[in-house]
């Protein structure tokens, strides 16, 4: 492709060339490095959000406790929820989708590498922006769904930070969604037809479509909130005709697809891990894929189940009860097909497998309590109690986080070339499994005993004391298990076993390349001939249908040398980083209502974007 040679001196920034060293992380456009960045950043946020949770649990360990003031508590539970959802589960999903998306479909990179870097930087800066509120007058304290009109009447800048911080994070998600959708539709290796794609890729695709259409809705709600708070508009101001229910509708129109955004990648991960360790193909591939799509579709028609008690009236409540209940059907399909995948297998209980199984066992509980919420008259009792808190931690932690930890163990050797220790891994799993159930199972009971959520203190004599104490013990057990994981990671850097390219004898393309993969992913773009392509290159079937390894050397016969001369990889660029820097600046400008600062931020964005537009994506070195 023809690239016009551009005079370097005319550039504001000389084109970065280094692909190693600390500075290179700011200019990288390599989807693998960006994946690692996502993963590390999200993990740090997990520790922060977890530390907030531990503070919450400490405060609630005993009745009438005074470790946290009401004010601090409210900021902590809000920031805990926001952090875990927007800064942990979503970006951890993005980490794996970024790293493994292109590898699993046999691509060299994502469709828009610089846009990818932009997404990441916007995400980090959005996170930093929201957290800066702690030092600038108080963090958001209106709950993660920030109901109107409390979100407007709360004093302090917290909820303004909320409206702008989530807005910034939304931009990151939207850019990422466009990027991954196009990558999956358009960047597949030859032969990688849609119905040959790994389930994880399918679930990524569905997730990104949900993001594509859900993010703009919350963006609008957040803009309206911003105008209300900063410029006295009336969108949610009941004293002047605004309707608080509009916020609820807009929020949950986004919010429910959002929860599937958080679970579908996890389901994809589990659908990769199970076949690998059961040593057989996924049961009912088509059903697993289509049920994922069905969940994505149905997820648009159930939002009002978060508003059953808001007074929608019996007709609307019945309709949404029905739509909600029936989401259990496609979800059940997934559960049954996973069990079908295990059935008849030869199950190896390695750490990733344990986490995947933990996911299934716990997600069933969370799913069933979800169905119990959908029984509207019961939900009148359950809503806003700890029964709900139990439900969503079972799906989010017991589900998403368990699967994501499974993914860490599963893909670690691919990313870093070393296996995480099995012994520590199993310890991690069992501690987390026990701690998790200790922390969250009693919440069902406490909820049924009438403990509302979001209360910073409670009197004794309600029958809640003992169970709350147990929950706190459970929470600290989880924290210990996370520490075990950290130890495992540190230990592995030096002492981890180097297991080669395909330690699990796995099935999908990412295992066909070296560990860690070279910058260009594959020396030769693979030609895909079947689903689980790698497996079929490694094994042929004997007459009984049992796999027989291909004669040694067969799989290695793929070309080793750099056959086709130069591979064009996108060149690093600082501009995505520069462009993203403008966003939090605008945010701070709005919080303090300083037009000058907003304009400054706008100029930074323009500079970044112009630089970006004017530089070619690939530059001859």
């Amino acid at each position: 492709m023809a690239t016009v040679a551009v005079d370097q001196r005319r550039r504001l920034f000389a084109r970065p060339r280094a692909t190693t060293g600390p500075a290179s992380w700011f200019s990288t456009v390599d989807h693998k490095k960006i994946g690692i960045l996502y993963g590390v950043t999200a993990f740090v946020f997990l520790l922060i959000g977890g530390a907030e949770a531990l503070a919450i649990r400490t405060q609630l360990a005993t009745p009438n406790n005074t470790v946290l003031s009401a004010n601090t508590y409210n900021q902590f539970f809000t920031m805990h929820g926001l952090t875990m959802i927007f800064l942990v589960v979503m970006p951890l999903g993005a980490a794996f989708m970024n790293y493994f998306g292109p590898l699993m479909i046999g691509a060299r990179d994502v469709a828009f590498p610089r846009l990818n870097a932009f997404s990441y930087w916007v995400f980090v800066l959005g996170g930093i922006f929201i957290y800066s509120s702690f030092f600038l007058g108080g963090a958001p304290d209106g709950g993660w769904f920030g109901y109107a009109p409390l979100n407007e009447t709360l004093p302090g800048p917290g909820m303004t930070f909320y409206s702008l911080g989530l807005q910034i994070l939304g931009i990151a998600s939207l850019a990422g969604a466009v990027n991954l959708i196009i990558t999956i539709i358009n960047m597949r290796a030859p032969g990688m037809t849609l119905m040959r794609m790994p389930v994880f890729i399918w679930m990524t695709l569905v997730t990104q479509f949900l993001l594509l259409f859900a993010m703009p809705i919350i963006a609008v709600a957040l803009f309206q909130l911003m105008f209300d708070r900063v410029w006295q508009a009336n969108f949610f101001n009941p004293a002047n005709g605004g309707d608080p229910l509009l916020w609820q509708h807009l929020f949950w129109l986004f919010g429910h697809p959002e929860v599937y955004i958080m679970i579908l990648p996890a389901m994809g991960i589990v659908s990769e891990i199970l076949p690998t360790f059961a040593r057989k193909p996924i049961f009912g591939y088509a059903a697993v894929v289509f049920s994922g799509i069905a969940i994505g579709f149905m997820g648009w028609g159930v939002w009002a189940h978060h508003m059953f008690a808001a007074g929608l009236g019996p007709v609307a409540n019945s309709a949404f009860a029905l739509s909600t209940m029936f989401i259990a059907v496609p979800t059940g399909v997934k559960i049954f097909n996973w069990i079908g995948t295990l059935w008849g297998g030869s199950l190896h209980f390695r750490t990733p497998m344990l986490f995947a199984l933990g996911f299934i066992a716990q997600f069933i509980i969370g799913g069933l309590s979800g169905v119990l919420h959908s029984i509207v008259p019961s939900d009148y009792q359950q809503t806003d109690t700890y029964f709900i808190v139990a439900h969503f931690h079972y799906v989010l932690f017991g589900g998403s986080i368990f699967a994501l930890f499974g993914a860490f163990y599963y893909w670690w050797p691919k990313v870093f070339g070393r296996l995480l220790s099995e012994g520590l891994g199993k310890l991690h799993f069992w501690l987390m499994f026990i701690g998790f159930n200790l922390a969250f199972f009693p919440m069902h009971i406490v909820g049924l005993k009438g403990m509302p959520r979001r209360i910073y203190t409670y009197p004794s004599g309600m029958g809640w004391d003992f169970l709350n104490f147990i929950e706190t013990i459970g929470a600290f057990t989880i924290a210990v298990s996370v520490l075990v994981f950290i130890v495992n990671v540190i230990r592995t850097r030096k002492h981890g076993e180097e297991p080669g390219d395909d330690p699990w004898d796995a099935r999908t393309l990412e295992w066909a390349t070296s560990s860690p993969p070279a910058a260009h992913n594959f020396d030769e773009i693979p030609i895909v001939t079947s689903r689980d392509d790698l497996w079929h290159k490694k094994y042929v079937e004997d007459p009984e249908g049992q796999p027989v390894p291909v004669i040694a050397g067969g799989a290695d016969a793929q070309v080793e040398e750099e056959g086709h001369g130069h591979i064009h990889l996108p060149s690093p660029s600082y501009f995505p980083f520069v462009a993203s820097l403008g966003l939090p600046v605008i945010g701070w400008g709005v919080v303090y209502n300083k037009p000058g600062v907003m304009i400054l931020g706008g100029i930074v964005i323009l500079l970044g974007v112009f630089g970006w537009a004017l530089e070619p994506s690939v530059e001859e070195v």
């Binding site: 479509f209 309707d243 608080p244 229910l245 509708h249 129109l253």
Partner: protein
């Protein structure tokens, strides 16, 4: 590029065609504005206006944005967005209007 080839296959719309479409758009706009002043049409006005807007929408999308000539994937991406929006906001607005619109202000 595949792009250009594609257009050529289906015959490049000529500038003349584009102008033709624009004239139709202009006429439709004129009609819209005019009928919005005719009181006797008030009862069906909303529907007529919506249909006219839809036609204009469709003309721009089909001709100026080339959806008529391009691969169906593009159309599907766009239409999915439109349909999702229509469905969910249809439900939201139906709900609000069947419940007497936005909150009647009960006073401070």
């Amino acid at each position: 590029m595949s792009q250009a080839e594609h257009l050529q296959e289906h015959g490049h719309p000529t500038p003349r065609k584009y102008v033709g479409v624009a004239i139709v758009l202009a006429i439709l706009t004129a009609i819209e504005v005019t009928i919005s002043y005719i009181d006797s049409l008030r009862s069906i006005l909303v529907y007529v206006l919506l249909v006219l807007a839809l036609v204009k929408f469709e003309l721009v999308a089909a001709w100026f944005m080339h959806l008529r000539f391009d691969n169906a994937i593009f159309k599907r991406l766009f239409v999915t967005g439109i349909v999702t929006a229509l469905l969910v906001f249809g439900v939201v607005l139906t709900y609000f209007f069947s419940h007497g619109g936005p909150a009647p202000s009960l006073g401070g």
